[in-house]
Every structure is written in structure tokens, then in C-alpha cells.
Amino acid sequence: MSGEAAKRRFREIVLPHLDDAYRLAKWLTGNGADAEDIVQEAALRALAALESTTPLKPRAWWLAIVRNAALSGIARRRPTVELDDTLVEPGPDPEAALIARDEGLRLARAMASLPASLRETLALREIEELNYREIAAATQTPLGTVMSRLARARAALSKILKANE
């Protein structure tokens, strides 16, 4: 049973960033169903942690919990790549919508095919929008490794996207 103070902090810290958390989890796992499980598990961990902590940087703190839950989840079960059909909202122009959806799917597949460490680093940069130093701290990796992982992730995605053109 959680204390009321922890619940209040949870409502202030976690609920406003639920969309970001889901997006991050979906990126890291590659599918929506796992992402839901992970966000829910992360929420439980966050609520327990809030009994005794008041994070200084709430959004970064919460997303770090989601990331850890995702990574331990990935370690437990082999990642499956299932892609749903709703990656991109269809626009008013059906042809353009079809092309956009196709590109979105290709990109999602490409991201899902990256090794976990590269995918994580890229997610920290592009979704959490951390700078190199912050990424190094979050992943406990040297700065140079962060930069080379980013470069490798981007090179791999560019290559896949170009190969499909």
C-alpha cells in the first residue's frame, strides 16, 4: 500500500510524461504490447521509489526507470519485432499517406534491427534529447563510446533507408 505523499509525487512526476515513456519503451522494445508492459512495470518501480526519494530532475529520472525496465525486460525475453499498422497517422492525401506509412514502417524495422546498445544510445539522443555528457552518465559509458555508437547507429539506419529506395 503506497503512502499518499508518494502517490501525489507520482501523479505530478509520472502521469504528465506517460506519452514520452510509452514512446521510449516502444522504441526500445520494437512493439506496442511490450511497451505497455514495460511502462506499467516502470510505474510500479517509480511509485515504490517515490516513497523515499524526491527526484531533482523528474522527467529524466522517470525515463531512466522506463529505460532500465525496458532493458531488463529485453534481457529476459528475446525481443520480438512486431509492427502494427498505425505508425503514421494517415494524412488527407491517400497516396502521400501510403508513402509516409511505408517510410515509417521501414524506419521502424531498421531501428528494431539495431543492436540494443546502439538503439538505446540513439533513443537517449533523439527521444530523451540528452547531450553526449548526459548520455555517457546515464549509460555509464565513456564519452567516446557514446559518439561512436551514435555514429554507427546513424550510419546503419541511413544505409538501410537508402538500400530500400
Partner: protein, 239 residues
């Protein structure tokens, strides 16, 4: 292109170069078409990645489950003495924390109805996007009928309606949809509700009234979108 140039292009993209190096990079960009092409690819890739994630929201059921983890302990209904004390406290605190909930006792109940509806996956008793179906259904069950305006062209399709019981009285509640999110609007007797925006348990609440009745809209869409909904709703039902 060598690794060094690749890394510099990436640092420029990520805003990690200092001013002198950024300038040097931009000069190099003008001189080298190969570098310019590479940099353009990096920019395009970033845009594609961000476009893909943009606008994706957590599913409604997940939001409801997570919100339920931290729902405050149930404190209503209170005994009359405690209720009076709470209202007095709320009055004393009025003006503190503008836009926050100020003790209207119907709000926690209505928010709980919203949560239950979202959690159960059955937010309506009568499911129809046709106001001419929803309106008579509600009118037959509540002492004052819902107006059920059609807001589809404003981006809020009607999902249906249901009857909630508040203070032992049936009240009509309409449910609209915005992307994956629900918006509920309950119509109450005039005396029953205040006015203004509030945030309760992470849900946004808008209360307003016209000459005849009071309305309470609840949703987990952001406050600005909910205000847009309320505007559209009020405009449609204006005589």
C-alpha cells in the same frame, strides 16, 4: 570521407561543437559537396526519426491503469461535519493555486466515473456516433436530457452516452473521442457545480454553465485541447 569528418558532422548535428569548430565545420561544408551530402542525410534521418515518434500517445487503457496505481485513498462521501470543514478549508484556500481543484465535492466522484469508464473499456451504455440515437436514450433515463451536440467536424467524434448516478440522481454523461483519448461531459443541475478549470489526479476538468444547467468535462488530453473542446461544445449548444 574519413571517420574524423563523420564524427565532426555528427557533433555539428547534435550541437556539440564549440563556436570556433562550428564555424570551421560550416566553412568545410561549403567547400566539400561530399560532406554536404552526408550532413543532409544526417538531418533527413533525424527528421524521419522524430516525425515517426511525434504524436504517438500512450494507449488509453495503459494511462488508466497507471493512473489507478496512484489514485488517492477514497475520502468521499464524508460525514456532513467533515464535509463542512473541508468546504470551509477549501474556501479559506481559494485563491491559492489558481486553476486547482477547490473542493467541489462532485469532482472527485465524476473523475472516478471517468477512470472507471476508461479502465473497463466500456465507457458508454449506448454506443453511437449518431446524436439522434444517443439523445433520446439519455432523455428517457435522466430527468433532464443531454443535448448531445455533433462535434465530429471539430475533431471530437461522439462515442455514445451513459447514465451516472450522482447524489442518488441519474445524470446524463456524453462521451467523445479525441485520437485515443476519451472526453466525458456530464450535465448537472445548475446548483450542483462551480465554474473554471481544475486538475485532479492528473485529469483535466473544465466546468461551465449556461442559463439552464451546469457542465463538467473531464479528460486526459491536455488542458488546451480540453478548452478547445469546451469552446466547440458550448458554441454548438448555444441557442
Amino acid at each position: 570521407m574519413n571517420d574524423d569528418a563523420t564524427l565532426r558532422a555528427q557533433m555539428a548535428l547534435d550541437g556539440e561543437l564549440d563556436a570556433a569548430n562550428q564555424l570551421a565545420f560550416e566553412r568545410e561544408l561549403e567547400r566539400s559537396p561530399e560532406l554536404a551530402t552526408h550532413y543532409a542525410e544526417l538531418v533527413a534521418l533525424r527528421e524521419a526519426i522524430r516525425a515517426q515518434g511525434a504524436g504517438e500517445t500512450a494507449p488509453q487503457a495503459l494511462r488508466a491503469r497507471v493512473a489507478a496505481l496512484a489514485a488517492p485513498a477514497r475520502r468521499w462521501p464524508l460525514r456532513p461535519a467533515a464535509l463542512a470543514a473541508t468546504l470551509a478549508l477549501a474556501a479559506a484556500l481559494a485563491g491559492f493555486g489558481a486553476g486547482r481543484w477547490r473542493g467541489d465535492p462532485t469532482l472527485p466522484t465524476l473523475v472516478a466515473f471517468y477512470q472507471r469508464a476508461a479502465l473497463s473499456g466500456q465507457p458508454v451504455d449506448v454506443a453511437s456516433s449518431d446524436r439522434h440515437t444517443v439523445k433520446p436514450w439519455l432523455a428517457a433515463r435522466a430527468p433532464f436530457g443531454a443535448l448531445a451536440p455533433d462535434l465530429a467536424e471539430d475533431g471530437f467524434p461522439l462515442l455514445g452516452g451513459r447514465i451516472d448516478i450522482l447524489d442518488r440522481r441519474p445524470i446524463p454523461t456524453l462521451v467523445y473521442r479525441r485520437r485515443e483519448h476519451l472526453i466525458s461531459v456530464s450535465e448537472l443541475p445548475l446548483a450542483q457545480s462551480g465554474a473554471g478549470a481544475a486538475t485532479l489526479e492528473g485529469y483535466h476538468v473544465e466546468r461551465w454553465r449556461d442559463g439552464e444547467r451546469a457542465y463538467v468535462a473531464i479528460s486526459d488530453i491536455d488542458a488546451a485541447e480540453l478548452a478547445g473542446f469546451v469552446n466547440a461544445f458550448a458554441r454548438k449548444i448555444a441557442p
